[in-house]
């Protein structure tokens, strides 16, 4: 029977953590769970990065992830508070139904079975790629971690109807790319910029999500010539 040393067990648990956290973001619509999974994903990614850079630098990734998650948390919570306020102000059942329809958007464009199927296909594809090819001399576990997050991020972005969920997809993508970039480039400046861009992306996503819909006049002004 093949025996595993502690390094392999550690590496395997990080990869399992990345798989589970990304899967939670793809599969579950609840925003609290998704945000918690994003934070856990940053911790797993930092653990993977610790094999490439010094530990204090790897922890920077967790910090930037925590800040990005905090920005998104306040936006999610504000959206929920707006929903509760409008629901309380609704005068009758019909008005409540309208408010509920307005706010209770489907997070994803497809149902759970399709998402499970899509995730399984992506997982099989990434396992196939990471186990059969080499890329710029990156070790197979780092390659798998990076590619998995990139693919899961694109999947979340494609399947999302909610802009905040698409934001989680973008952050997954950047997390995966940060792993590949750090594995191939030794530039600390680039590493720092990747972390800063995560925060900037979270800010812009929160900004886009918090804006009220364009009124008809605005839409007319921005849309049709006449």
């Amino acid at each position: 029977m093949m025996s595993l040393d502690s390094t392999q067990i550690f590496s395997a648990s990080i990869l399992i953590g990345l798989i589970v956290t990304a899967a939670c973001i793809v599969l579950f619509a609840d925003w609290r769970l998704a945000l918690f999974a994003l934070l856990a994903q940053y911790a797993c990614a930092a653990a993977l990065l610790a094999s490439l850079v010094l530990m204090p630098l790897a922890i920077v990734r967790v910090l930037s992830g925590a800040f990005a998650a905090a920005i998104l948390y306040f936006t999610f919570r504000r959206a929920q508070e707006n929903f509760r306020r409008d629901l309380a102000q609704a005068e009758d059942d019909a008005a409540r139904l309208v408010v509920a329809r307005l706010y209770r958007l489907q997070v994803f464009v497809v149902g759970l079975p399709f998402r499970v199927f899509a995730l399984a296909l992506v997982a099989v594809g990434i396992i196939g790629i990471a186990s059969s090819m080499t890329f710029l001399g990156i070790s197979s576990d780092v390659l798998f971690g990076g590619l998995w997050l990139i693919a899961a991020g694109v999947l979340v972005a494609i399947l999302s109807r909610d802009v905040l969920r698409l934001g989680l997809g973008i952050l997954l993508f950047t997390s995966g790319f940060a792993i590949l970039e750090t594995a191939t480039e030794s530039s600390l400046l680039l590493y720092g910029l990747v972390n800063i861009s995560d925060l900037l992306l979270a800010l812009v996503i929160a900004h886009l999500a918090a804006l009220p819909p364009a009124p008809s006049v605005w839409r007319r002004r921005r849309g049709e010539v006449r």
């Binding site: 909610d162 802009v163 698409l166 950047t174 480039e185 861009s197 812009v204 886009l208 804006l211």
Partner: protein, 447 residues
């Protein structure tokens, strides 16, 4: 230090314009002051390279001329922004509409770094940051739903990742010159990254949904300024990695992509009735020409491509200003100003009349006709269709029913904006009559 100071001045200008957004006249004056200040800093900053975090920032004669040309378009767009002034309030729609100019200044600051940085990966980062900042001026069409701006964020991240991976292949290839797979991979990632962000057909599909969420001024900044920065980055990289061009099909990809972009842009503009989308699609036509110019690879066509790029930035700025006049000020005289600005901008965009576009189009078309007559024919047809699309939009404004002027429209700001229209118009004609003014900008490219 002056380059960093110029970037700081851009950010400072954005903050001032944002603070003064409630007062239309004060906002316009602050914008004008900022344009003069940043323009002067750009014009008189010393050329000596400076170090920042171990990387060099250099303002050569060519980069200075290019940045000044694009800053003229940025300044014009920022000065046109008060035309869309809405009654001051704390409503997000009003805040965004009244501080559009601030976002242009904020986004231009990283673009200065993109052009002056001597490191490709950092320049890509700076370009992406500028594009992300611009998305703050977008206004989603429905609350919480994924729209063009959110999708564009994803594309920025994907494209930046592609360009950074391409850079890794650039670094590796000289170490193993026998490995031609690296050349192929570098070309693929480079084409994907630039193709996505420059909206080169068939990777242009994001342009329409994004245009729905930006104002015409925002679209003009995106296609006129931000994309021009990207093309500059591409030309610099092609010059830096000299082995890439002869060993990869990059030039052919540029020729095919350019022809396709021009043709599709013209067809889409002809079918489009929404002004921001129409502007975005019209701007694809000269972008196609620029790609063809780069793809031919001759010094004449390369110079023409850079001139066409500047002409495109100025003419879309003028068209967006005209659209803002026509859309937001319904009195007959302002409608005529809007139609006139759109007509002049449109003619310059397609390269008709005494504008810089004519000289640029001639330089590129001559090389294209020698190399591939079919491509030349496609470009001619695309420009003719773009002209039709532009004339139809102008006619719609001229023939529209005239209404009363809004009560809160400020006459001084309107007259000052007419002055900006005249300045851009004169710049376009001046550049057409004296194309040698671009000599400094295209000189280094020829080398």
């Amino acid at each position: 230090m002056s380059i960093v100071l110029t970037m700081g001045a851009c950010v400072g200008a954005g903050i001032v314009v944002r603070i003064l957004r409630r007062w239309q006249r004060a906002g316009w004056l602050a914008t004008l002051g900022s344009v003069v200040l940043v323009g002067a800093l750009l014009a008189f900053a010393p050329s000596a390279p400076m170090g920042l975090f171990g990387r060099a920032l250099a303002l050569t004669a060519a980069t200075r001329a290019f940045l000044l040309a694009l800053f003229l378009a940025t300044g014009a767009l920022a000065l046109f922004a008060p035309l869309t002034f809405e009654r001051a309030s704390d409503a997000p729609a009003s805040v965004i509409a009244n501080s559009q100019g601030a976002f242009f200044f904020f986004a231009f600051a990283p673009f200065i770094a993109t052009v002056t940085l001597e490191s490709f990966p950092l320049a890509v980062f700076a370009w992406a940051i500028g594009l992300i900042v611009l998305m703050l001026s977008a206004r989603p069409q429905s609350e919480g739903r994924v729209g063009g701006a959110a999708q564009f964020l994803l594309l920025i991240v994907i494209a930046s990742a592609s360009l950074l991976l391409a850079n890794r292949f650039f670094d590796l290839y000289p170490l193993t010159p026998e490995n031609l797979d690296l050349v192929r991979d570098a070309a693929i990632f480079l084409a994907l990254g630039f193709g996505l962000l420059l909206a080169i057909a068939p990777l242009h599909i994001w342009l329409g949904p994004l245009a729905d969420e930006l104002s015409p001024l925002g679209v003009a900044f995106l296609v006129g300024v931000a994309q021009s920065i990207g093309v500059w980055l591409l030309t610099q990289q092609m010059s830096a990695v000299t082995w890439l061009v002869p060993r990869s099909p990059l030039l052919n990809a540029l020729l095919v992509g350019g022809g396709l972009t021009a043709a599709l842009g013209a067809l889409l503009a002809l079918a489009e009735r929404r002004d921001a989308r129409a502007l975005a699609y019209l701007a694809m036509v000269p972008l196609g020409l620029v790609c063809v110019g780069l793809g031919t690879g001759t010094p004449m066509a390369l110079a023409g491509a850079l001139v066409a790029l500047v002409n495109r930035a100025w003419s879309v700025a003028l068209m967006a200003g005209g659209m803002s006049f026509a859309r937001h000020h319904r009195a007959a005289r302002w409608q005529l100003v809007g139609a006139g600005a759109m007509l002049v901008g449109g003619l310059a965009l397609v390269g008709l009349g005494p504008f810089a576009g004519l000289a640029a189009n001639y330089a590129i078309a001559r090389e294209a006709s020698v190399r591939d007559p079919m491509l030349f024919a496609v470009l001619i047809v695309a420009h003719a269709l773009a002209l039709l699309a532009m004339l139809r939009t102008v006619w719609r404004i001229v023939s529209a029913q005239v209404e009363e002027e809004d009560a809160y429209a400020n006459r001084i700001v309107l007259l000052a904006s007419v002055g900006v229209v005249i300045v851009i118009g004169v710049a376009l004609v001046g550049a057409g009559m004296f194309p040698q003014m671009f000599e400094m900008m295209v000189g280094t490219l020829g080398q």
